[in-house]
Symmetry: C2
Subunit: 382 residues, 2 copies
């Protein structure tokens, strides 16, 4: 029989049936009234997740496209920028800014504990940075950074200080984000993580300083020229991926129906269940508890176990797919996604398959304890 | 009752059921073996439409994103380029190249008769252009340009002459394209026209000189850096819009099942049916017959008729949506799409609604003759 697949990588994520149904609607004119209404709901709904009072702009691109848009609209060639790097997606900010001609400094932080606002404040003082690039939820390691603290540090340089530009791709909708309240200037996200939709759309929220920079900066850009996107709101300057837009519209409906605070609480529950389960097997989550991501958990592969083989068994034999480490961390990490369309029984399924595959690989410790420990967290959750 | 909608704008187009079904499949790992196989089939299938021996690269973006990618990978700031402009999409090439710092000359051609290869050959002789940008099928006017002739003109400058870069967005898959045979260097297309899929994906084919330019040029680029896309084939460097990729895969299957030559022939039939129908009503197609696009037909709005009102009646009362003029041509043109998932009975439906709406608007000539004339073309088709 065709096995059901539990896709528990750190995005893309499984799609709710209501989202899948939207994907199958007949094509409509992307310039007609129906498309405009969908655009508007999505622009406003995504803005709510960002904690932004202004509608979000919508790009048809991968999340990386939105990261490039954030760079090209805030930084000119030769500008000094600081990139906070604690994993692969921090590195991506640095690569994009370098490719586009910025003068890039990196502040590498311990990927087990996240970026330190005090260190950032020291580093930028009087240094003349035009922008600081940060990662909300670093999905290569499972760290949720303290964006409120980083924003405070960046704003200590005053209104003429650097902008704070945040990659919120793998965290937005799974963890709180308050662009206006924290004073973040630009933030980007994608459709395929906590927005429970397929990949292919990206969104950008602009605070007042971010918008001013977008309007005033003179860099060579066309497809990612955010001025055109802001002016055309709630429509887009170029043909959008309409079925994906409808999908996000439906997903936002589900999120607001559950209630944003409830959604965040659910993600914290899933995180705590996974961490308890992993520890009950004698394994270690990769990050400290206080910065633990609510959307994915990275786990160290222990000595003597072939991490990639465990993943393959989980996928091929039990129909549960988790992520591995990226780049240098390949084979050293498992990354268990618990974002978006994920609920406590799904954690049981993942941990069950994980325990079974570990047993098969020769791991002796704590069999049955992972699901039991996760269950205990669930039972005792408020 | 919910009315069926006949979407007959010049793209996006209606989706075949087999394509819609692909959109509703559960999410899969975009880095797994299944995704890789889909990528490979699509890269090779789209290459067949381009007439290219090399797999096409795949971008998650609107068609305009692929146009920007074609520019940034072939032209550096300050380079002299020639853009052939005969409508809105020719203008777009010029806008993108200007935005990215190229020194842009425009050769404006009569949009009723298309670009003239001899004129292009004269214009580029010894002029030191780095690239010439052309439009295969100009969807703002309904002209199918003679790309074979333009390629010959451009190649008359020899191997050190300009590259020929072609926007094939609204024609590829509906009209022949032979990148290798004609000597086109770069060509781009999108998913939402003759590829019968939703918007959101774009494709680029590179000839040997195009690939060489991509590999050697030193321009600031990241998301649209085609070197990375070529190296990662058949995968993509960034998360692709997986459901759209599956959709294109299914659509290519339908196209090759019908047979490419049969598909082109069907498009020519639809074109001739529409043109005969329009003329039977005493109206004029916008372009000369010898350059008439097989994927859409623009029709002049006659004096005394409110073209936009006719479109609104067709859409709101009869469930048939056609396009209007763009920019300066708004209100002066109707644009009837007959591309992709379009067959002779669909032309009857469109022309029927068109005649009915024209009658309602007070047009007296030739009622019933449009559908009859189109029918006659169909009956007599080989």
């Amino acid at each position: 029989m065709e096995k059901p697949l539990q896709l528990r990588i750190p995005g893309p994520v499984p799609l709710p049936p209501a989202v899948m149904r939207e994907l199958m609607r007949p094509a409509i004119n992307h310039r007609g009234p129906e498309a405009k209404a969908v655009n508007q709901r999505v622009a406003e709904g995504v803005a709510r997740l960002f904690g932004s009072s202004q509608p979000a702009v919508l790009l048809t691109s991968s999340g990386t496209g939105a990261m490039e848009a954030a760079v090209i609209n805030t930084v000119a060639p030769g500008d000094k920028v600081l990139v906070l790097v604690g994993g692969r997606f921090g590195e991506r900010w640095a690569q994009i800014a370098s490719a586009l001609g910025a003068d890039v400094d990196e502040l590498r932080y311990d990927f087990r504990i996240g970026a330190n606002p005090d260190e950032v404040a020291d580093r930028i003082r009087g240094a003349g940075y035009r922008a600081v690039f940060a990662t909300h939820n670093e999905s290569s390691t499972g760290v949720l950074n303290n964006i409120a603290g980083l924003a405070e540090a960046v704003r200590s340089e005053g209104d003429d200080g650097p902008l704070l530009v945040v990659d919120a791709i793998s965290g937005l909708g799974g963890a709180p984000f308050r662009l206006d309240e924290w004073g973040v200037d630009v933030a980007v996200t994608g459709s395929q993580k906590c927005l429970m939709s397929p990949p292919g759309l990206a969104f950008i929220a602009l605070g007042p300083r971010g918008l001013q920079r977008v309007e005033s900066i003179d860099t060579p850009r066309y497809y990612f020229d955010l001025r055109k996107y802001v002016r055309r709101l709630p429509e887009t300057p170029y043909t959008p991926a309409m079925p994906l837009l409808r999908a996000v519209d439906a997903a936002l409906g589900l999120i607001f129906e559950e209630g944003l605070e409830n959604v965040y609480d659910r993600h914290r529950l899933l995180r705590d269940m996974v961490r308890a389960g992993v520890r009950a097997l004698g394994l270690s989550p990769w990050t400290e508890d206080r910065v633990a991501s609510p959307t994915l958990t990275a786990v160290e592969v222990p000595e003597g176990i072939d991490g990639e083989a465990v993943r393959a068994v989980m996928r091929d034999e039990y129909g549960v797919e988790i992520g591995g480490g990226q780049g240098d961390l390949k084979g050293r990490l498992w990354r268990i996604g618990h974002m978006g369309y994920a609920f406590p029984p799904d954690v049981m399924a993942v941990l069950g398959a994980f325990e079974k595959a570990l047993a098969k690989a020769g791991w002796k410790e704590g069999m049955g304890r992972a699901v039991a420990a996760a269950q205990e967290v669930w039972v005792n959750w408020a």
